[in-house]
């Protein structure tokens, strides 16, 4: 079985991935304009302010768009069909994720964080996936 591609964690992303391993979703908030920021950086993309502080997300959001994937590459080919969604977190940022669980989701549905592995391999990374709130 081909290996899942690894994640190259860097100094700016380490807090995020450390949080995921603890079941948390760590974002940032700008002290100058009060908006949430993701992915992590040293300047605010809304106001170029440099006062970014940690923000713990509630782990809830709404599906902005989604696709059911039928052809995937590498190790992901064995996982089809699977659902990828863009999720508008309640804090006001958007992220890509995998929808897990039995309940399918539609655009506009509410979803909740579920940190899990996408593969049985012991070195497969923990990922911030989401599942439908209804029927969860």
């Amino acid at each position: 079985m081909p290996d899942l591609p690894s994640i190259v964690i860097d100094a700016e992303s380490k807090p995020f991935w450390d949080g995921v391993a603890l079941g948390e979703l760590r974002l940032q908030r700008c002290r100058d304009c009060a908006r949430a920021v993701f992915p992590a950086r040293v300047v605010c993309p809304h106001c170029f302010g440099e006062g970014l502080e940690p923000l713990l997300a509630a782990g809830t959001g709404t599906v902005y768009s989604k696709t059911v994937v039928h052809r995937a590459f590498g190790a992901f080919a064995e996982q089809v069909p699977f659902t990828i969604a863009l999720i508008d977190l309640d804090e006001g940022v958007r992220m890509m994720s995998r929808i897990v669980g039995e309940t399918p989701v539609a655009i506009g549905d509410r979803v909740r964080l579920r940190v899990t592995r996408l593969d049985d391999a012991p070195d497969a990374p923990q990922l911030p996936c989401f599942r439908a709130e209804v029927g969860a």
Partner: protein, 392 residues
């Protein structure tokens, strides 16, 4: 203010298209460059600016200059994805207007079909690490997310997306170099396998090898060239994001900025445009682009295409070579948009007979075409670049 020195496209060429395991990205660009310069009646010694884009070298412009035996005075390796070459036209024109160079050579080459490297997952670095681990096939999955949102917001159907592929294939039937020329129907598109919902296989561009070259020359050189110069009237480029999750609105591309700006800089309006060359990586790309450019209202581009407005005989012919969907798509397709628009404005297809299988139906030449809008899209709807070209 004195009028600026104008720039024009004076030579275009493709290299061998389809599957070319006997060529490299470098030999493809050399062949295309040689043919484009020969068409213009110029030599490599006339070229003082070299423009290329690719990810096949740490510095593609240097690798290519060495291969061609050039020491150019002006180098541009701007890589903003498939729209890079429309950006190169803008940059070359600015350099010509400023008097920095007289002749620019813009090239592209790809062996992606022979290499079979497209889409293979790599470790996700920098911002890619927040998307890559979830397994979305790129770029098709990102375009599928845009299509799903667009259909949700405007009630657009898969049938309307499919019309873009049908229109492209009608034009491809008129292009002997097109990869696929057999007619297709909306039903054929919908019956092709789903790749990433709602996109089917026939909603997606081809994966081919190929290359192309475009020669741009300053006004003072036009009397030396063997072709009818096609004038660069206006250009604009922008980016809205690199990761699809960071696209501000999945239904509006950077074309909303670059389309109007390029037309304004050209001193023309939408009504003046006779011909469209629109990047068609996927059917959804075309619908979003037609709306963002301002040729259709939001949600209406599918019906515009379904009504035959962009097909042979339509009032706004689009992608008259068959496009990335049916003619060729070697990874970064933008240079082929420029090649086709140039040939149309020169009237290169005037002598080709009507379709033998469709007597009385219009052929490939858009009769009387004076002004073309060429629009590249790069990445995952990430960058756009618009160029306005005219016959005089």
């Amino acid at each position: 203010m004195s009028p600026r020195r104008r720039a024009a496209i004076v030579g275009v060429a493709e290299s061998e298209l389809g599957r070319t395991p006997h060529l490299t990205v470098l030999s493809q660009q050399a062949r295309a460059s040689s043919a484009a310069l020969a068409e213009a009646g110029l030599t490599l010694g006339d070229v003082d600016g070299l423009f290329t884009a690719g990810n096949w070298s740490w510095a593609p412009a240097l690798t290519l200059a060495e291969y061609l035996g050039m020491h150019p005075d002006h180098l541009d390796g701007t890589n903003i994805g498939g729209s890079s070459f429309e950006a190169h036209i803008g940059h070359a024109t600015a350099a010509i207007e400023a008097g920095l160079i007289d002749v620019a050579l813009i090239t592209y080459g790809s062996t992606q079909r022979s290499d079979r490297t497209r889409g293979r997952p790599r470790p996700g670095t920098l911002t890619e690490q927040y998307e890559q681990p979830f397994g979305l096939p790129q770029p098709v999955g990102a375009y599928a997310l845009a299509a799903a949102r667009y259909m949700h917001e405007y009630g657009v159907t898969s049938e309307e997306l499919a019309e873009v592929a049908v229109s492209a294939r009608q034009w491809a039937a008129r292009n002997p170099r097109a990869y696929h020329r057999d007619p297709i129907t909306v039903a054929d598109v919908l019956a092709s396998p789903l790749i990433a919902e709602p996109l089917h296989k026939l909603d997606c561009c081809l994966v081919t090898d190929g290359g192309g070259a475009v020669v741009v020359a300053a006004e003072d050189r036009w009397q030396d060239v063997a072709t009818r110069p096609v004038v660069v009237r206006g250009h604009a480029e922008t980016t809205t994001h690199t990761s699809i999750s960071q696209m501000p609105d999945l239904t509006v591309t950077g074309a909303a900025r670059t389309g109007p700006l390029a037309l304004e800089r050209a001193g023309v309006t939408h009504e003046d445009v006779d011909l469209l060359a629109i990047y068609d990586s996927f059917t959804i790309t075309v619908l979003l682009t037609l709306e963002s450019l301002g040729f259709c209202k939001p949600g209406e581009a599918g019906r515009f295409v379904a009504a035959g407005r962009t097909a042979p005989g339509g009032e706004l012919p689009m992608n008259t070579n068959g496009g990335g969907l049916s003619y060729t798509h070697p990874g970064m397709y933008g240079i082929f948009l420029l090649i086709e628009a140039t040939r149309q404005l020169r009237g290169d297809f005037r002598d080709q007979p009507d379709q033998p299988d469709q007597p009385g139906r219009p052929g490939r030449q858009v009769e009387g075409a004076e002004l073309a809008l060429v629009h590249g899209t790069g990445g995952v709807l990430s960058s756009t670049s618009t160029v306005v070209l005219s016959r005089s």
